[in-house]
Symmetry: C2
């Protein structure tokens, strides 16, 4: 059983988390067999470690972390790989893979271009 | 002629801007009749004011600013409306509209869910 973590930056305003909650709900609705958890770098809970602990308790055989960041800055290039190394040491039996940033995915770039052109046409 | 601004956060690492440059290139390739400029809140150039100045010089009749942010935090709720008010005062003949955040757009949430499920299936 493959677990999914949607990893976002976090913010002070609780409403900030709404789009990530919507993504989690869409994934749960479309494919309820995949356990999905949110995780945040800062200012919101759970942490990435907390989300991985939850998925491990639910018995997942592997986890993929999806950074829901538009672009790769210091957080994704440096902080996140270090966090994942530490979490792998804690959960040696659960392989943890890391996906690219949202803005690096051609289909998502295209969906954003579609939205922009729908709005101005 | 409608001008488009893709407004992103900005970061120290020049590579961070790559996804936004890719979005701009897709828009220019698909619809070359719409002038498109990037703009950044901090750490990168041009500013939003600089991008609007460029579009105004090119003779656009209206501008829509698209915040390429996953979610609405303090930057979008407070800083950006204030910045746009100041820019409207400088360019009273160019109506400036503000779109919602990327993560509030159902089709983009769906594209992100598609990507996640393609990756784990």
């Amino acid at each position: 059983m493959q677990g999914i973590v949607l990893f976002a930056h976090g913010a002070r305003d609780p409403e900030w988390a709404r789009p990530f909650e919507a993504m989690r709900e869409r994934l749960r609705a479309r494919r309820p067999e995949f356990p999905v958890e949110l995780a945040f770098l800062e200012r919101m809970e759970p942490t990435l470690e907390g989300a991985v602990d939850t998925l491990a308790t639910r018995g997942v055989s592997a986890i993929t972390v999806f950074p829901i960041f538009m672009a790769q800055g210091g957080h994704l290039k440096h902080d996140l790989p270090r966090m994942i190394e530490a979490i792998r040491a804690k959960h040696p039996r659960v392989p943890i893979a890391l996906a690219s940033a949202v803005g690096e995915v051609p289909e998502i770039v295209e969906a954003i271009a579609d939205w922009v052109l729908r709005s101005v046409d």
